[in-house]
Symmetry: C2
Subunit: 149 residues, 2 copies
DNA sequence: TTTACTGCAAAGGGTTTGCATGAGG
DNA sequence: CCTCATGCAAACCCTTTGCAGTAAA
């Protein structure tokens, strides 16, 4: 979670212009933990910028990614955007399609990254660790359907 | 690496028809370690089936995924297909776009999966562990350019 | 013989691009 | 004042869908 001042500083450092639209988009992603899609970001900034189009959002997300503030996570149908740049595990529900960060195993991801960097002759920039399955709520619903149906 | 007989058995088990096209597509993916794209699979089967279209390949890849034989890996521009269903680490070169499996850290991925399954209240089906960066060859080329330029 | 797969064509939809206008530094 | 961002529209291209002919079981 960055303050607006820190955000402005980071953007200026990359010689990009700081516009109200960019700040709104950046905050919509950085102050979220739910890995929003472009559509969801659009919904979140639409109240303040009714005329903003998806092209502007795509452009800004590109700037933020090149600045190292966010990371694009391609999924089958569309991309989501990750604001937690620390090594960690994402839990992806194959039923409700929610994507949440978890603290569980964070230390192991860090150690795994160190090991890959040291032993694999591969220069690591970042990592994506996704576990796919069913979240607690959808697991419960699945059980109910199995019992009744 | 599955034999053709094992492959036929696996497909019959899911009550799908075993056609020459499906066998060719399945072998093109399963007997590879380079995570081919749909286009690459097309190139690999085109000699034997000149009239085969991408629609058939997409359809067959869907069948193979639902049969648990392969896994789709969405990337920014397009999907690649993974035939190594064991927990492991993929190394993705951001320069040449090669995607290779590595044995390094395989044990840690297994332990990470066990930990997530036990401690996170999340029912895990499979996982995707990607490390993005630069492969040895592209790292060397980058160094050369920095020295000369 | 029945069912479902193949191949072709067209549609779908997330993402990118080009350009005129407008705003940041 | 110059450069670059925004907004609009169109293009792009991977992927999906519909359908007629055909092959698997």
């Amino acid at each position: 979670m960055l303050t607006q001042e820190q955000l402005v500083e980071r953007l200026r450092h990359w010689e990009v212009r700081v516009t109200p639209q960019r700040l709104a988009i950046a905050e919509a992603v950085l102050n979220s933990t739910d890995h929003p899609t472009v559509q969801q970001i659009h919904e979140r900034v639409r109240d303040h910028f009714p005329s903003m189009t998806l092209a502007t959002i795509y452009s800004t997300l590109g700037v933020l990614q090149r600045s190292g503030l966010i990371q694009e996570l391609p999924f089958q149908k569309m991309s989501r955007y990750e604001s937690n740049m620390d090594p960690h595990v994402n839990l992806v529900c194959m039923n409700c399609e929610e994507v949440i960060d978890t603290d569980t195993g964070q230390d192991m991801v860090v150690r795994l990254k160190n090991r890959i960097s040291r032993q694999s002759n591969f220069q690591v920039a970042w990592q994506r660790v996704d576990f796919y399955g069913w979240c607690p709520r959808c697991t419960a619903e699945k059980r109910e359907h199995q019992q009744t149906g």
